[in-house]
């Protein structure tokens, strides 16, 4: 127990130091590119908490990247380097758009059914890299990346050919039915109940990982590839289940994002949400609650950067610096390790009564 506490403490300190370093570097970059660096930096950091609407933006931004993070973390945790969530977000968005324009007109049933169809579709798509990985040990990283580009091409073709709206000049799908819209959760903002669903899925994911046999196999296989082979659970079944669940969560995230935030499907490029999911999974150490926290943090920075970009001369992509530095520092096993070793030694000395 003692060891665990000090581990947690170390992770917290490490994260805080990483945040501090990334903010210092961000400030230096702002000094280089902006005429009003102090103002920009202040906006980046504090804008999201100055208005309830802005804070609502943080929660809205958190939803799609949180789902993407959960979907990706499950794969990473199993030791599968699959980046396919990006393509699943795109194609499931197309599925959502197709389904959401021809529902029953029941405000309770419509969103649930749409999200469910999209999720199952996502799960089935994820089975493609999953099957080839499980059966033939095909490189899932390459397959999933190729699939992203393929799904994007197919999806955009489908949108342009079959569900394109004729009443708007830009490429967009027909309007979703009013009844498929997700209810607003915080009045005065656009924050929809997707936030609640994200929390629920996070808890379910935690239960799956730490309280079930499948979760145990996932964690052990992530630590040692050969585990599944010896545990009696077939690696084949394990890889397929993990891919299906991950795709399911991805499809759900995409659908919820569209039904909560959009009136039509308007993505004419890959949305980048799936790749952000990979960053978030890494920052959250592939732990569901870590992922939730990381998605909040990244959403906060992105909304801060967005508001900053509206009133200063700095573009929103500024957030990328903070994100990249955070990922590198938090991922690294040796960052602050010397400091930690020293403090562990001191603790040991104290425990032995030699100081």
């Amino acid at each position: 127990m003692f060891k665990k506490n000090s581990d947690v403490m170390f992770e917290i300190v490490k994260t805080l130091v990483a945040i501090a370093i990334s903010l210092v570097i961000s400030f230096l970059i702002l000094v280089l590119v902006s005429k009003t660096p102090v103002d920009a930096f202040f906006k980046l950091l504090t804008a999201p908490v100055t208005k309830i609407r802005y804070f609502g933006n943080v929660l809205e931004t958190m939803v799609p990247i949180g789902f993407a993070g959960l979907a990706t973390s499950l794969l990473f945790r199993t030791g599968l380097f699959n980046l396919g969530t990006e393509g699943i977000y795109y194609i499931c968005g197309v599925v959502t758009a197709t389904v959401a324009s021809q529902m029953f007109g029941n405000a309770f049933l419509d969103p649930i059914l749409t999200i469910l169809i999209s999720s199952v579709f996502g799960g089935l798509v994820a089975l493609i890299p999953g099957y080839f990985k499980a059966k033939y040990n095909t490189n899932e990283l390459v397959v999933s990346l190729m699939m992203n580009s393929i799904l994007f091409g197919l999806g955009l073709f489908f949108v342009k050919t079959f569900i394109r709206a004729s009443d708007v000049p830009s490429v967009a799908s027909n309007k979703f039915m009013e009844t498929t819209r997700l209810p607003i959760f915080i009045p005065g903002t656009r924050t929809h109940i997707g936030v609640i669903v994200l929390l629920v899925v996070t808890v379910l994911m935690f239960i799956l990982l730490f309280k079930t046999k499948l979760g145990y196999s996932i964690r052990m296989t992530g630590l040692n590839k050969n585990f599944a082979k010896y545990s009696g659970m077939s690696a084949f079944a394990l890889f397929l289940s993990v891919h299906f669940i991950s795709g399911f969560i991805g499809g759900m995230g995409s659908s919820i994002e569209l039904l909560g935030m959009y009136e039509r499907f308007t993505w004419v490029a890959l949305p980048g949400l799936g790749f952000t999911g990979a960053l978030i999974a890494t920052l959250g150490k592939n732990n569901p609650f870590g992922v939730l926290l990381a998605s909040f943090g990244i959403a906060y920075i992105r909304v801060g950067a967005e508001i900053m970009s509206r009133t200063t001369d700095v573009p929103v992509e500024m957030a990328a610096f903070v994100e990249a530095i955070l990922v590198f520092l938090i991922m690294s096993q040796y960052f602050l390790k010397k400091w930690r070793d020293r403090s562990l030694l001191k603790e040991g000395d104290k425990a032995n009564g030699t100081v």
């Binding site: 095909t138 990283l141 390459v142 990346l145 699939m147 580009s149 073709f157 573009p315 960052f335």
Partner: protein, 307 residues
Amino acid sequence: MEQYKDLIFSASFFFVIIRVCVPLMFASMSAYTANLSGLPNIAVEGIMLIAAIMGVLGSVWTHSAWLGLLVAIASGILMALILAFSAIKLKTTPIMGGIALNVFASSFTVFLLFVITGSKGTTASLPSKVLPTIHIPIIKDIPILGEIISGHNVLAYICMITAVLVYILVYKTKFGLHMRASGLDENAARSVGINVNRVRFTSLILSGILAAMGGAYLSMGYLSFFTANMTASRGWIGIAAEAMGRGNFITVLLTTLVFGVFDAITNVLSLTNLPSELLQTIPYLAVFFAIIAYSIKEYNKKKRNNA
């Protein structure tokens, strides 16, 4: 059908193959040199992207395409060093580090684009320079062959020379032996006195230079400006080719060539009125099916050996 035949069986089609193969070859050589030393570089895509914009900016600042290329290469080396440093010294998983660099690169290039040009689309408004096109004397006058081989960007020829140099480095020099040893078994390599970390740092620098030249080719040869996300997964195609070559340089190059042919087909067909969204997926479909076919073959081979 007749029109497709004319498009594909012509000298200009083979010219296009070389043209589209150059960035893919650089990408797969970049992935190859890094992975051979045991430190996979999956940031090829991101390095190419950053080098592409740095080359353009460098040529604007220095008024010279060649100095622009040097700036691109320097940025590639820097990116590769970040990856190497974090993997070797900070013990970051190189795959995760690579993913982070890729995500960073796609935002960072847009950031630079906006800060410098005020737009998030292209650098077309900047007076950037393009690397010269070479017309090879004598060869350029040979019918058909001349049309195919002559008249490419100088980086295309550098690419061919580099491929020979990488082959010699890997298979004919002591350093190449050290690279392969470090990749095969790092502990065994250490036990015979190889400085594995130094070998990997050097390999990554090489990998960064190769990826950077591929990126610079895109914005200073293939096109004459930078556009956001212009690499369009070429780095990943290089990584796929590397994965299928399994450490054999010639196989890596041949696989890349096959992918290049599909890329060229896409290029030529885009002149027809087939839907462009579907055409764009052809190269990725080729890689997708190739890598699956390859793994099935490997699987069957393994099964036969066990039986």
